[in-house]
């Protein structure tokens, strides 16, 4: 080969490379104002029609509600199926397929009165037999569902007439009510068939506002309005979920007009969408997500067993700094396991503002002192050093870990940060309890029951109280909280639970990120509430003259 590059040629090469880079930067830089301004008429009255194309990262897997455990599948089944009840915009229950429901005095029996005007998408009438069938499906050992647990608490289920459904529990169970928000399956299409190979997994038939049209795997899922929907047909004619696995591509696709809806990343929200051109075409929304991220301590380790040490670490971490650094300010410091603004949330709990001096005092008090002057505290010959584990693939957690590492170093605690692939992370470290501390997150379920996460009986292998938290009062509150049914009775219980968790600091709650959806401007009727914007999706509309897709 004789193409070695020498002096002059190398200089030439560098110049050329420089030019190419410059060219590419210029090409991507000059983009202000290239968007076509939308045609804005005066008339914004409600109209039927148009299509919304929504971007989603993952493909769905199975469209039968009990088997749909991933987010994409449940989003689709949410449009196609109905539960007996659902959450309204204030996160309280309202009737869906059930017109009304009663809970017996002893809290053990629920009677649902079903709507009489509901038909399946194939025209068959919906009756209580379908509900009973769905219940039987859930408890059938041959149904590979992740959600069987709550249905197994049912002592007796019956359908005394076609529009009444009764369930009786062995003891009152508050989260039981939520379980009836799950999509009801059609008996006439599933009975006597193997659910794992059912046609319905790819071609669902429900009662919901949208009926299934087609699914091109890895590409798109198309739904169309159900003209006979019992609450009246939605305004938008068609929903297309387009699968775009990369958020950068998704954002480019949004800008090129190929998408009408996507969830933005904090970076996109804060830095890339503030142009007038973008604002002319899209509306951005922002509200707390149903999730939080925490630093959990393995309480089996002696170094974390003194509550003052956990307090010291909580004081040493600047949570606002993490929100600003990791989420670009698009979130808020977390104080407990519930979503700010929801009914179980208690804002009035002990907080740990950033106070490194207080942290130092507390550590000193416990006996952790830097004797040899190397910047790390010691006690009984042990250095105060521990490893924070987190899983690969979540940059926010890794960044939060790095910020925590620096802040704890400042108070004399040495931190190693290890990032491990998810499966090994669980199998090798979390389940056997072989970790010091971990940064992880939970999604916040709408029902506040946190029995599986906080109760001291759930510390076994593969159970979710993997930090081995044990507080008898918390146990009692958790048991009590799931046995009373009214929000008014439950609220004080969960408020007290949050006070204890904030005081005990088994986790140091770090942050609640914001959901950052963006919707094309032509969609009207969007209402931002604590529950987000999707709760009244069926009422979204596009005024006649702004409709983009006529067919």
């Amino acid at each position: 080969m004789r193409w070695c590059i020498h002096g002059l040629q190398r200089a030439l090469l560098q110049v050329c490379l420089g030019c190419i880079c410059l060219l590419l930067i210029l090409l991507s830089g000059c983009r202000e104002g290239e968007f076509v301004p939308p045609e804005r008429g005066e008339d914004t009255s409600v109209a039927y029609g148009d299509t919304i194309i929504m971007g989603t990262i993952g493909d769905a897997s199975n469209l039968i509600p009990p088997l749909a455990s991933d987010a994409s599948s449940s989003t689709i089944t949410g449009h196609v199926y109905n539960g007996l009840i659902r959450y309204d915009k204030n996160m309280r229950f309202e009737g869906d397929l059930a017109e009304s429901w009663e809970i017996a005095e002893d809290g053990r029996e629920i009677t649902f009165h079903l709507r009489k005007d509901v038909t399946w998408h194939d025209g068959e009438p919906f009756t209580s037999a379908d509900v009973l069938f769905t219940y039987k499906l859930m408890v059938d050992p041959d149904t590979p569902t992740a959600y069987a647990e709550r249905y197994k608490q049912v002592e007796q289920a019956s359908a005394p007439d076609p529009y009444t459904f009764k369930v009786r529990y062995a003891q009152p169970l508050a989260p039981a009510l939520v379980s009836w928000a799950m999509g009801i399956c059609p008996k006439h299409l599933l009975e006597g068939k193997d659910i794992t190979t059912s046609e319905l997994a790819r071609n669902p038939v429900g009662t919901g506002p949208f009926r299934f049209v087609k699914w091109d795997p890895g590409e798109q899922i198309v739904l169309e309005r159900n003209e006979d929907y019992f609450e009246g047909a939605p305004y938008i004619k068609r929903i297309v979920y387009r699968i775009v696995p990369d958020t950068t591509t998704m954002f480019l696709e949004l800008q090129s007009g190929g998408l009408d809806y996507m969830g933005l990343t904090p970076l996109q929200y804060a830095r890339q969408t503030d142009t007038p051109a973008f604002k002319r075409r899209f509306n951005k929304y922002r509200y707390p997500a149903f999730a939080y991220t925490y630093l959990g301590y393995n309480l089996r380790k002696p170094m974390f067993q003194d509550i003052r040490v956990r307090h010291a670490i909580a004081y040493a971490i600047d949570k606002q700094e993490i929100v600003d650094g990791v989420l670009l300010g698009l979130g808020q410091p977390a104080t407990g396991p519930y979503k700010p603004g929801s009914w179980p949330y208690n804002a009035d709990v002990p907080r740990y503002p950033y106070a490194p001096d207080k942290a130092r005092d507390l550590l000193h008090e416990v006996g952790w002192k830097d004797v040899d002057g190397d910047g790390v505290r010691e006690k009984d010959g042990h250095r105060f050093a521990f490893t924070i584990l987190t899983n690969q693939g979540n940059d926010q957690r890794i960044k939060a870990g790095e910020i925590i590492q620096r802040r704890l170093q400042e108070v004399g605690i040495e931190i190693k940060l290890r990032v491990i692939e998810w499966a090994s992370f669980l199998k090798e470290f979390i389940h056997p309890g072989k970790f010091d501390a971990t940064i992880l997150g939970w999604t916040v379920p709408v029902d506040p029951d946190g029995y599986n996460i906080w109760h001291s009986s759930k510390t076994g292998p593969r159970e979710l109280n993997f930090i081995a938290y044990n507080n008898p009062e918390v146990d009692r509150l958790l048991e009590q909280g799931r046995r009373v049914l009214s929000i008014e009775e439950r609220r004080p219980i969960y408020h007290r639970l949050q006070e204890i968790l904030a005081r005990d600091q088994p986790y140091t709650f770090l942050y609640v990120p914001d959901s950052l959806p963006v919707v094309a401007r032509r969609f009207y009727g969007i209402e931002e509430t604590p529950a987000g914007i999707m709760h009244n999706f069926n009422e979204w509309y596009v005024p006649e003259e702004q409709q983009k897709y006529k067919r």
Partner: protein
């Protein structure tokens, strides 16, 4: 010749068995289970679901028994059902992804050959000229630039800023309303960027290879003879030199056969193309053993067949190999 082919085919069987056995064991050694996606870190999931799924999938059996069961099915050309929640036959899942991957790879392969051969020949004939140096520089820039980065820049410039090509996907919205001809055009329109990007990276290797082959050939005595006979330069290069320089390409094409069904997960994610790369990656991530094994078997077979085709093709093209 026939005996040659049959012998090669027979040699493939133990090789294939070895490949499947090793892949099977290695995949099962990785931590994690197909059941994890549904049961891990899920406050709702009951404990017995995992047990039930393990029994259903046969994961509670010893590894060698699982391999035996799998192999028995494979002999009947049954790849089994996927362990993911859709539980579809692995064959169906692969077949719906294969055409688009194959199409893109064939198109980009064609584009690479069509560009690389003339580039290499001209570079060799006009060695160290201005043309030679510029193409060298450009193909290496193309080779060195990360394809996802180049793809995003082009998507932003050509797709968003100029609006000339679609940003991602393979079909426009409303594709089904178009006539057959428009549908083909629509897909072609969507494929411009992906095919271009995947060709850019491969151009360097191929054109350099072509150039050095050509250089070797040009120095041969028979080229000198051809020139001495007084043949025009066009005939010397086009007929005597080029045909000999193309011979080693057979090997490269043979080796490229398994690459035709493989996709790149980064590339496919960036362009939102539902191809084999993403399918395989997702399969590995959720430890979907039947799917992983299915793709690996097809890949192994393609590799072995590709090698054999290269051998056969070479033997056909070059009498020295056939008779030797």
């Amino acid at each position: 010749m026939l005996i040659f082919v049959i012998r090669k085919l027979l040699q493939m069987v133990p090789l294939l068995l070895g490949i499947t056995l090793i892949s099977f064991v290695v995949i099962h050694l990785a931590p994690g289970d197909p059941t994890d996606l549904q049961t891990e870190m899920n406050p709702e999931a009951g404990a017995e679901l995992e047990e039930r799924l393990r029994t259903e999938y046969g994961l509670d059996e010893p590894l060698m028994v699982q391999y035996g069961t799998w192999l028995k099915r494979l002999v009947h050309l049954d790849f089994g059902r996927s362990f993911s929640q859709d539980r579809r036959p692995v064959w169906d899942k692969i077949m719906e992804r294969l055409p688009i991957t194959l199409l893109i790879n064939l198109l980009s392969m064609g584009l690479i050959i069509l560009t690389a051969v003339p580039l290499g020949v001209i570079s060799a004939v006009k060695r160290d000229s201005w043309f030679d140096r510029t193409t060298t520089l450009l193909v290496f820039v193309g080779f060195a630039a990360p394809s996802f980065w180049l793809a995003l820049l082009l998507m932003d410039w050509l797709g968003v800023y100029l609006g000339l090509v679609p940003v991602s996907g393979i079909k426009s919205f409303g594709h089904e309303y178009l006539s057959a001809w428009e549908q083909i055009l629509d897909i072609g329109h969507h494929l411009i960027l992906p095919v271009f990007i995947s060709a850019v990276g491969g151009l360097a290797g191929f054109s350099r290879y072509m150039r050095s082959n050509m250089l070797d050939v040009i120095r041969q005595d028979y080229i000198l003879t051809a020139r001495a006979k007084g043949l025009p330069e066009r005939v010397v290069i086009g007929k005597h030199a080029l045909r000999n320089a193309l011979l080693p390409l057979i090997t490269i094409l043979g080796l490229a056969v398994p690459g035709l069904i493989g996709g790149s997960v980064i590339f496919e994610s960036i362009f939102a193309i539902p191809g084999m790369g993403k399918l395989f990656y997702d399969g590995v991530m959720m430890r979907d053993y039947p799917l992983i094994m299915g793709i690996l078997v097809i890949g192994a077979v393609m590799t072995l067949v590709g090698n054999m085709l290269a051998d056969v093709g070479y033997a056909l093209a070059d009498p020295r190999i056939r008779k030797g």
